[in-house]
Amino acid sequence: MQRGLKLTDILITIVISIAFGILYKIWGPLYYAVKPFGLHIDQLIYGMWFMAATVAFLIIRKPGVALLAEIAASSGEFLMGSEFGLEVLLYGIIQGLFAELILFAFRYKRVDLFVISLAALSSCAGSLIMDFYKGYIGDLSTWNLTLFIVFRVISSILFTGVFAVSIVKALEATGVTNLVRASSKKDHEALDQ
């Protein structure tokens, strides 16, 4: 058995990130349309930006996948020449790292909603840290900052946690996940018969 990620794992992870990149095209305009009002309504869908990480991890279930998915998603935007590309690249790396930390803490064994939501919250924390440095959000008045954080936390759990888990459940039903997951003990037993 080869340890670490194989080329297959890597390519599939990147492709999952691209698929999300394409899906973002639907709500990207919505996000930027509500952003300038200053009431942080955009934060209610912010969690979708970290989704690729948890979905890719839930499908492939190997160390490093969450980080790679975030890097792929963000570098895609960067290389294609987006105005937000550079910021997105740095945010992506931090968010991926933070999600990876939680998954590592559970030894990559747990794939239940609780752990995935924790990873989502961790990504969220990573993005908030970046915002404190880059966006001075600490200098917003208190009620406004609270609104900002609460909205982002809600959306992180909703999208990166709950929605990601439900998407992967549906994908499992299609059978496509069997292609990529390592063969389990049950499979070997089935062969022995």
């Binding site: 080329l7 890597i10 390519l11 698929a19 300038p36 200053g38 690249l89 292609l179």
Partner: protein
Amino acid sequence: MNSLFDAKHTWLHSINPSLKLVTILSLFIVAINIHFLDLMVGFLCVILLLFIFATGYSYKQLFILSLPFVLIFLSTSSSMILFGKGETILYKWAYIQVSEESLIRGIHLGFRALSFAMLGLLFALTTKPVKLFYSLMQQFRLSPKFAYSFMAAIRLIPIMVEEYQMIINAQRVRGVEQKNNFLKRMKRLAIPLLSQSIRRAYRIAVSMEAKRFQSDKKRTYYYKVGFSRNDLFFISYFLLMLGLIYILSIHDPFLPSTDVRYLPE
């Protein structure tokens, strides 16, 4: 990927992609540590100069690329201007409170976002992704399995976009309700797109592995990416210009030169 427009080949195109990436990431770090408005404006000008005169794109093309800049500026500065902390109140209405401090801080954030936007475009407009990955393999010893996966994935993007269109059309033909809740619609598009893409990626990956694309052993490269005199020029441009604006802001401050962060007395 940069076939958006055609551009003249300038010295910026011939800079080593890895070095360009590292420089731009360092400039990002520099920029988030600038807390004075005059320095921020200076920093923006340093990048603006390159953006306008060195990318090899026509003014018309650059203008079109710059249209979203207005939106970027507004979206990053508005919250801070309207709801930021500050003592010298300029305008107050219900929850909105514009103070001198929050106004300056908001403008500062807007300029910062603009400088990131231009830095990012500067890179993307003058770098071919394929060259970047070849350079990362040669200069940073990036494992070929990562580099070739990324390059293969870039080729898959148009196929996936086409597939996405096909899914939408197919669902429309079958009369799937379009006006539905957002998440449901998202999921209905995500499942077929993801499952088809994963299957295709799997097939490609298996054949790439069979052709030893993932081998880490000593390999040769079709594109050899090295360094040139332009690289030196690129780095010294930023070092000299940033040094210059720093000295200028100390000796001859042309804008209110106070820390934009909120520092309670």
